[in-house]
Amino acid sequence: MKQTKRLISLGLALTLSAGAAFAQVESEDPIKLTLHDWTGQLITTNIMAAVLEEAGYNVELVQADYLAQFSGIESGDLHVAMELWATTAADAMNASIATGNTVSFGETGMQAKEEWWYPIYMKEKCPGLPDWKALNACAEMFSTAETAPKGRYLGGPVTWGGYDEERIASLGLEYEVIHAGTDAAMFAELAAAYERQDPILMWIYSPHWAPIKYPGEWIEFPAYSAECYTDPAVGENPAAAYDCGKPTGPIYKAGWVGLEGKWPGAAKAIKAFTMTNEQMGEMVGKGDVDGIPLEDVVDEWMTNNEAVWKTWIE
């Protein structure tokens, strides 16, 4: 009985969607959106996909490496990348845009933050945090056999940049950078340290599930400015650059240059897409901390924000 009902509704849906598709959509070819390996990006992309489907487009989600995807976008194999962080992908994105085969679809509205970070229980053990000047007094506590007597700072993969070696030198910090190879390795260490309530000082970015699941704080470095990175005279240490914190930056959308010609309506919707850090943080928390399946998180957003996304596809 249930099955027959399903078949009927399926048939109905088919005729409807076929009719709708022919009425609105410029091309029936699937638009390919790329998926990466962090929850926030999966949510952003799935929401965009759901919205495009509401507008009648066919969508395909493709697993692709964060930076390697640009070669696919340039050749038109892939069409849309929904989260390109100014902090990690800016160079690759600008290089890709310079080829003329990739275009920016503007900002997502979310702001990326990345900085040195410690779990909240370290605040008691190391009074004076979050001020960076307190770090040297606690270097011993953060050290391991490999780095002793210096403190150990767990950095991101080498390719992600971040100028931490330079920062340590210019601010005179008694620390050594140990680079993790992947973000999985980095957060594996955090999870283990948190279980034991052991000292750990590491690099974290947001929006991400880790700072939601594990309460903690950012180290407060002297505020970032573009000059601080380029001009030694600016900042804490008059003789060296990089003597300040890390920049924050927008998260961009970008994609294949031909998208606008082939699916003008979709291009408009993608450009219109915006989301705030708070909205994203809440959804990421639901997925990674509460264990709600991502489809349900996306469905809930779609139902609650119908008025918002309807304007994107008008």
């Binding site: 066919n58 390697a68 140990i178 190879g181 594996a188």
Partner: protein, 656 residues
């Protein structure tokens, strides 16, 4: 004369220690090769790749068009396999596609595998394979496992047919064989990550590119085994073929290939196992399936999920391995059954009927089509609780153990190697090569060493040698005794065999994350991962070598009054030395192939260089670092092969 020879290496080692000690006072160009020596091979390669992708043509069409056409060609059977196993026939495109005819149900697929098992050997094998597939369904891995199976079903035939064709060509033409041999060396030693980027450029993003990378990785053993098997066909049989008037084509099809069939099936088995090894890496460029589940689970630290998906890969590998081995050993027994096609193929008919019946029944009863969610089991929380328990309760002991090894072994060796001047290292390498294989080998090793110098990868290469070297020594120290034990008792042999089989098929990424949780990011965690992965050949070859020592020799030892211990140390181990060396050689190769995985932990070696190049889509940089890894592998391989040949000659095992 022999005394000076015996003293040569200890003296050289002493000189090395002194050099390392005073290295701070040496001119810097001795430690780091000077910029002037570097040749921008990476830039040239990148430029060549760009030309190949954008401008190169075959006249009528471009290279890229040709490779894309090949991709489309491969996509057709892949899509068909997916329709059968995963998607069914659907209406509409993209994500909204809805199913019209469902894929083959889990019951029918499992039944088909059981039938294949019975056909290949007996009911026992059928039931084993059935149980493994049932595991996939019960633990909720079915859909991903079928995606993986679909790509294996396409990659393996391409690898087998391609390998067979190349192998036959190499057998027929010695010139082709000479050209092919170094290419095969490269295919086996260049880390996969190094050629992923060029493949992405040429074949586009998605499952097809992943399939092609899989084939490149899995094909070389098939080529080698084919050539070897054809060469081993007894000359009398070939004569016979010629006498009865076979054309060259008939000779190949009716005489040579059938005779070589059992060996060829060993090659097929290798292709299957290597294809499954690639599952994780392939999923990084869009293959999906179980590899993607493992990566995804571990990236969000769901250790239990990761282990379950990893074990599903092991189950799939085990099932396909057993099946292909049974097919290889299958003897044609019994008279052919007479009668109609249906009568002659009862199992095929039963499976076909089951496919249709379960397909129809699935429309009414969903559990027939898809294994019900409510009946699924999971061990997820057990695994993550286990890691947490060890982490919370035993971390201090683990940390103390780790620090002891780190401070007393890893760090001193690393500092020592990095402090050696590169011309000295090259000189030692050349000398060793000359001792083992005279002028030719010395020339080859010197050339490969210089290649590493001019690409500017010296420091990373030394770090690689340090990490792999220590791991191989430890793997051998653990593996050889395990192998001796496995050879001594049948029960131990079986248990140890099963254990190392699992270590080899379980994706290393699965145990990498718990290892990091317990040992932190750093060289030690990387070393543990390499040792675990590279252990297997040391165990296997040792056991094999000890078992195949001629019984007359052992009896002679016993007659002379040797104790059991003396038989082992004076007779069996020396006689098994060539096999053990071969095992060590394979251990080195596996250790080097683990580099890309240890790069994920955060080492600073050639693996990291390759991985970083993948992340930045820098073709030239990746290819150069990959070739540097291959250079190290080839040097190690040739030196050990030379040493093995000399050991064999000394023991009178070869014709010399």
């Amino acid at each position: 004369m022999s005394r000076t020879r015996a003293l040569l290496w200890p003296v050289l080692f002493g000189v090395s220690l002194v050099l390392a000690f005073v290295s701070q006072h040496l001119p810097p160009w001795l430690l780091t090769p000077p910029q002037a020596m570097m040749i921008d091979l990476a830039g040239t390669t990148s430029a060549a790749m760009k030309w190949l992708v954008e401008d190169a043509t075959f006249g009528m069409f471009t290279v890229k068009e040709a490779t894309r056409a090949i991709a489309t060609l491969i996509e057709v059977p892949y899509e068909a396999a997916r329709i059968l196993l995963v998607d069914g026939i659907t209406e509409g495109k993209g994500r909204r596609a809805s199913t019209i005819i469902p894929p083959i149900s889990w019951i029918a697929v499992t039944a088909a595998m059981v039938a294949l098992g019975i056909y290949a050997r007996n009911l026992k094998l059928g039931l084993l394979i059935g149980a493994l597939f049932l595991y996939l369904a019960v633990f909720g891995q079915w859909e991903s496992a079928m995606v993986t199976l679909a790509s294996i079903l396409i990659a393996v035939p391409i690898g087998v047919v391609g390998g067979l064709a190349l192998g036959i060509l190499a057998f027929l033409s010695p010139t082709f064989s000479r050209v092919l041999s170094p290419i095969l060396d490269l295919m086996q030693t260049v880390p996969t990550f190094a050629y992923l980027v060029p493949i992405l450029f040429l074949f586009g993003f998605g499952p097809v590119a992943a399939l092609i990378a899989t084939v490149i990785y899995a094909m070389p053993p098939m080529v080698r085994i084919t050539t070897l098997a054809l060469r081993q066909v007894p000359p009398e049989l070939q004569e016979f073929g010629r006498m009865v008037g076979c054309t060259p084509g008939q000779q190949m099809r009716k005489v040579l290939l059938p005779t070589a069939l059992p060996d060829l099936m060993v090659g097929v088995n290798q292709v299957i196992m290597l294809s499954l090894n690639m599952v994780i890496i392939a999923s990084m460029i869009g293959a999906g399936g179980l590899g993607f589940d493992v990566l995804n689970a571990l990236r969000s630290l769901k250790i239990g999920d990761g282990i379950e998906a990893g074990l599903a890969i092991t189950a799939l590998a085990l099932a396909l391995d057993q099946l292909s081995q049974a097919l290889a050993a299958r003897s044609h027994v019994g008279a052919p059954v007479q009668g109609s096609w249906i009568k002659r193929h009862p199992k095929t008919v039963a499976v076909l009927v089951l496919i249709v019946v379960t397909g129809l029944a699935g429309l009414v009863l969903p559990w027939v089509q898809t294994y019900p969610r409510e009946a699924m089991l999971s061990t997820r929380s057990f695994w993550s609780d286990l890691v947490t328990y060890v982490n919370v309760n035993y971390f201090d002991q683990i940390e103390a153990f780790k620090d002891a090894i780190l401070i007393n072994l890893l760090l001193p060796v690393k500092r020592f190697l990095l402090a050696l001047p590169w011309p000295w290292v090259l000189a030692l390498l050349t000398l060793a090569a000359w001792q083992v294989g005279r002028g030719r080998l010395a020339g080859l090793c010197l050339a490969l060493g210089l290649f590493i110098v001019v690409t500017g990868l010296w420091e990373q290469a030394v770090t690689t040698v340090y990490l792999c070297g220590i791991s191989v020594v430890i793997a051998a120290l653990i593996g050889v005794p395990l192998g001796i034990w496995a050879a001594a008792s049948n029960t131990a042999g079986k248990v140890i065999g099963a254990f190392i089989d699992m270590l080899q098929t379980l994706p290393s990424f699965v145990y990498l994350i718990p290892v990091i949780m317990l040992f932190r990011v750093g060289d030690f965690a990387a070393m543990i991962a390499v040792v675990l992965y590279a252990l297997a050949p040391a165990v296997r070859y040792t056991a094999h070598g000890l078992r195949s020592v001629q019984s007359e020799l052992i009896e002679a030892g016993i007659v002379c009054g040797c104790t059991r211990w003396q038989v082992l140390t004076r007779v069996r181990l020396p006689m098994a030395l060539p096999d053990i060396l071969l095992g060590v050689n394979q251990t080195i190769m596996l250790a080097l192939s683990m580099l890309v995985i240890t790069a994920l932990v955060g080492t600073r070696d050639l693996g990291q260089e390759v991985y970083a190049a993948l992340a930045t889509a820098d073709v030239g940089r990746g290819v150069m670092a990959g070739l540097a890894v291959a250079a190290i592998a080839i040097i190690a391989d040739r030196l050990i092969a030379g040493a093995t040949a000399r050991a064999k000659a000394r023991l009178g095992l070869s014709g010399e």
